[in-house]
Amino acid sequence: MSVPTHPPSVPLAIDDLTVAYNEKPVLWDIDLDIPEGKLVGIVGPNGAGKSTLIKACLDLVPRASGRVMIYGEEYKKNRRMVGYVPQRESVDWDFPVSALDVVAMGTYGKIGWCKPVGKKYKQQAMEALDRVGLADYAGRQISQLSGGQQQRVFLARALAQDAQLYFMDEPFAAVDAATERAIVTLLHELKDQGKTCLVVHHDLATVNEYFDWLILLNLRVVKAGPTHEVFTAENLKATYGGTLSALAEAGEALKQTKGAITS
């Protein structure tokens, strides 16, 4: 079997990816080619493997099979082009660092071993904090920030990485309205700069508004493509299956969408 080649202009190409935890597959035969400069939503029910997909792309979980190419190269080679926003709950916010310290971690890759964070990189971190509207909070200990502010600190850290391709794990989870707006604005800025963002998302009501590309995931890729083609009742049913509440939610979301389009 010949391995398909991907031109270096494709930010993320996944071939035949399977991931298993304790012999139980959580992702099956994923094949995806993500076009450049899109805001890509990853949507699916709980336990569908959304976070795992991101982690598998970043080499954070072992792959049972398959290949992930970032701009035509292995992740190891092109990891500088990748930015990562983990789930907010994945770290201990009691850790003794300030908001600026956390954002500066995004520049560690450029700084290199054993060197302290110099003026230049502090400046970059400050700019990133400013872009998410938290410049005034630079010196705050991170536990004193609200949940939404913590999420924005994580985003700023990814911005400081100055990447081409961003992976964001539920950035909209439990954030305030100001943060939600800040994230949306930021996503559009990134898109305008030709950057690609993959965002794990759980709020079906905002899918149409936020993303121009969509991956419907439930252990396998149910459907992937431009949002207006993929976000249909039929596909959502195939993704969420028989779970009533999810279907009701999906139906509601679709109704709202239709209303928004016709009005």
Binding site: K55, L58, D59, L60, K76, R79, V82, Y84, P86, S90, V91, D92, F95, P96, V97, S98, D101, V102, M105, Y108, G109, I111, W113, C114, K115, P116, V117, Q141, S146, R157, Q161, A174, V175, D176, A177, A178, R181
Partner: protein
Amino acid sequence: MMLGFMWSDLWEVLLLQKYNTRLVVVCTILLGISAGLAGSFLLLRKRSLMSDTLSHACLPGIGLMFIMVTLAGGNGKSLSLLLLGATITGLLGVIMVTAIRNTSRIKDDAAMGIVLSVFFGLGIVMLSLAQTMGGAAAGLESFIYGKTASMVSQDLHYLLWITGATLILCIALQKEFSLICFDENFARSLAWPVHFLDMVMMGLVVAVTVVGLQAVGLILIIAFMIIPAASARFWTEKYRYMWMLAGMIGGVSGWFGASVSALLPRMPAGAVIVLVSGVAFLFSMFFGTARGVLKIKSRQSRMRKKIGRQHLLRAVYEVLEREENGTNSPIALDLLTNKRSWSPKEFTKLVSQAKREDHLEPVSGNRLQLSESGFAEAARYTRNHRLWELYLIRFADVATRHVDRDADHVEHVLGPELVRQLEIELDQTAHGIDLPDSPHASIGEYSI
């Protein structure tokens, strides 16, 4: 007379002027510093108990090495060989914890408990076997409880090296260490070698533990690692100060504890040092300037004051709305006390607080009146409160995660468009408030 003698003696020991205690005191200072430094990263990595497992796992290595060397006809009490044995089984213990955790469903704490006790049991068996081999094994049990008197210049030699290495690595790798402690996955996505850094960190812990075994014993060495770091955390919110402070607290505890124990007959230094650092911990816990208990209590009381102030001013404003058509004028106290479940004591406190903050005018009798600034504040609190209430009702499905009652200007959180819409609704229900510009500078205090 006796006491005076003791004090001058202590002074001499502390200043390292006594020849026979100098070595011990210097050794424990160095041990305190290096354990404090290494321990602070261990604490931040949430692996405090790992050092306990490690130290207990050292014992069989000591016994086994003694037996093997003695059987081979060598000097079984050679310090470097014993410590080598301790290092080998200590590392083995750490590796086994990791192996048990990674290959079975057993969690970290249980894995550590198993390895710790089994290795310690094995160590006791080894020591008993060693005892049967003759009198040379007599001093081995000092590794369990520690015996500073048995320290020799070779210990000092090792400690100097290890303290130096710990300092250099903590300075050079503080960025890397703090990164893997805070967010391991992010570090891995940036391709920092997390395993390698973990090994360096554990290597430091192993080195400090093994060298410290003789002085403080394997049971108490964990205190050297953890207590200074945990104490330091109460004083600072920055890891780069935390580990330096931990080193200092460790060093001072070692210095003071060893000096005191040197003056008291048959008092083991390890235990005294741990008690000294325990006192340092208690002190830090209460008086720490970053997150000490008193600090947190005062923050909570500030919070209560703020909520009390908002409730009082809003209650006054609502009475004014009802009785005086929303203009600022004196009102009777009992109109207020009916509005909320204030006890008389609480209420008096709130009123005097509001007077101190210039929110109330001094009015005689059972009446009170808002000052100009107090009136503006009251109007603002009331309006914000109503907007939030309305918002919660109107957008019950999405609202809770957006509510920020503390926000000075609702507009900052919800956006001017939505606020205007809410205000129109408020006006229709005759609950609207024309917000006067506050003449009082204190508004800025709360703004975001």
